[in-house]
């Protein structure tokens, strides 16, 4: 995720923020928008790759997955 300069917003971050309806936040809290985008990117990157997707879903009830 490239650095987000509030004075010159990253176009991808800005597009996502506006698509999400965050116009007011972009206007009033640009640093928070930047921090949020970076946090989301970091968490996405830290998730492991998925090998086996044969059983992709969590159980609907604890302990009943298999």
């Amino acid at each position: 995720m490239p650095d987000y300069d509030p004075a010159k917003p990253d176009p991808d971050v800005l597009a996502l923020a506006l698509a999400a309806g965050l116009e007011k936040a972009v206007s009033k809290f640009p640093d928070d928008v930047r921090a949020a985008a970076q946090a989301a990117a970091q968490d996405r990157d830290e998730m492991p790759d998925i090998g086996n997707t044969e059983r992709p879903w969590p159980p609907m009830r604890m302990g009943s997955g298999r």
Partner: protein, 485 residues
């Protein structure tokens, strides 16, 4: 009844009522007096319902003394985190957003506690929407650590933990989507249980994250946790996989640790993350204490902590965005800065990210279930650090993610945190025990065995003219040496 009523456990209160050595009205009055004296410094309670509590106490007194006691919690006071509905009272979630949000009905768990005869004293402080943190933008004061008000009590059920450690109530009700019961329980030197996902009903509990949310008991003893859990479940446990034998949660509390197989998830704190050395030392001592009591302790491996935590966060953020989207778009300035920053990342995650996380979750649940083929209970770090100063925003940001609690919101297994020692600064360190799904009885058995062997629960802060500063450093160091020696 003579003596200090503030530190009685629910179990002791029930016994005193049965022997007519104590009345519910006297107890409620004593606790409200204590809250009024100390809450301005501690900030554990947002709102006290004095009139309602005394009315309930008078009714409990009539019933109990007429021989119609409903059960072990009849006449026992409790407090509730202010993201749980109480009919006729605001559920503010400690946020400007919901200051006028008066609940029409009791949350299901509140109804269950009332049916058991427990008496609600009031609503307790939390991190805004169970997300933010202490800051001056909040509409009410934030909770502080009763042992030393310069320190953070943990969160997000911060008032619930602080109220127990301050002797305000014997029982608190908290919520936990990523550790929010267990963090303040451990920080405040009390006991907190996140039950198995699905065991307790969430109706009337303001959501953080639909598939990670839990509501659960907090108390000053493991036995009280068991009593409160059974009351909270009410009749709902009958519809779950819980304990096919129909046992009470506290059925095995007296059995000790002999023969229990404990899996020590050491890599959480000495490989994946590096805990503060005094936290690691205390965890090693927990293992030794349980071994001396007859448990068989072996090291086990789960998926890497950072991966478990990242998957939990992606699910948490995606789901919480669904809860807060409208307000974040329309009223972003009514959130505090910490909450706004923590809730908004969900806007930047995609459906694909959420599904990827759910796929990871499936595999991580399987990994934990595999380990439970060979052990009965897991022993892990709860927090990687001792409690930190409440004015240290950088400390909060650095240490808050350094924890081993959120993986078990992801997998749904029951998890309990309790005190494991004292830090150099004289504040509680904590340990986490994790059980099989719907096997709270065995989880509580392990915790009770450890509690009995160490008796950390007997340690209480002093809150007289010292303004809740706790016992002296020398006293704590002596206690620390005694307990671990």
């Amino acid at each position: 009844m003579s003596g200090d009523l503030n530190w009685l456990t629910a179990t002791e209160i029930g016994a005193a009522y049965a022997a007519r050595r104590l009345s519910p009205v006297d107890l409620v009055r004593a606790l409200i007096n204590r809250i009024e004296a100390h809450n301005p410094r501690i900030g554990a309670f947002i709102n006290i319902d004095t009139e309602g509590a005394l009315a309930a106490a008078r009714e409990a007194e009539r019933e109990i003394f007429a021989g119609r006691a409903r059960g072990p919690l009849h006449g026992v006071p409790f407090g509730s985190k202010d993201n749980i509905d109480v009919a006729g009272q605001p559920t503010t979630c400690h946020s400007k957003i919901l200051l006028d949000n008066v609940a029409r009905n009791d949350a299901k768990v509140i109804g269950h506690l009332r049916a058991s005869g427990a008496i609600l004293l009031g609503k307790q402080a939390l991190h805004e929407f169970a997300f933010g943190g202490p800051c001056d933008e909040l509409p009410f004061p934030y909770a502080r650590h009763p042992w030393n008000t310069a320190y953070h009590p943990g969160g997000s059920s911060s008032g619930s933990g602080a109220a127990l450690a301050a002797g305000f109530v014997p029982l608190s009700l908290g919520t936990d989507a990523g550790g929010s019961i267990r963090n303040p329980a451990g920080n405040c030197g009390v006991v907190g249980l996140k039950p198995t996902y699905g065991l307790l009903p969430l109706r009337g509990v303001f959501p953080v994250s639909f598939t990670l949310d839990h509501v659960g008991p907090m108390a000053r003893s493991v036995n009280d946790i068991a009593l409160m859990l059974d009351a909270l479940a009410g009749g709902d446990a009958a519809g779950t996989d819980r304990d096919a034998a129909g046992r009470r949660s506290g059925a095995d509390l007296e059995r000790g640790a002999r023969g229990l197989r404990i899996g020590f998830v050491r890599h959480f704190h000495d490989g994946d993350m590096i805990a503060d050395p005094e936290v690691g030392t205390a965890l090693d001592e927990v293992a030794r204490v349980l071994e001396r009591d007859g448990a068989i302790v072996t090291d086990v491996r789960l998926p890497r902590l950072q991966e478990l935590a990242a998957v939990q966060r992606v699910i948490l953020l995606a789901e919480t965005w669904a809860v807060h989207r409208k307000w974040l778009c329309e009223r972003p300035g009514d959130y505090t800065t910490p909450t706004r920053r923590k809730v908004m990342p969900g806007a930047f995650l995609t459906a694909g990210d959420h599904l990827h996380a759910q796929q990871c979750r499936r595999q991580m649940i399987d990994a934990v279930e595999d380990v439970f083929r060979d052990v009965d209970v897991l022993l892990t770090a709860s927090g990687m650090d001792a409690p930190f100063r409440i004015d240290d925003a950088a400390g909060l940001a650095r240490t808050y993610p350094r924890q081993g609690r959120s993986p078990f919101n992801l997998t749904g297994h029951p998890a309990l945190a309790m005190m494991s020692g004292l830090s150099k600064s004289g504040l509680p360190l904590s340990v986490q025990f994790v059980g099989r799904a719907f096997d709270e009885a065995t989880l509580l058995r392990a915790a009770a065995a450890y509690e009995r062997a160490t008796n950390w629960c007997a340690y209480q802060p002093r809150m007289n003219e010292q303004a809740a500063s706790g016992a002296s450093t020398a006293e704590r160091q002596h206690l620390h040496a005694t307990a671990v020696g």
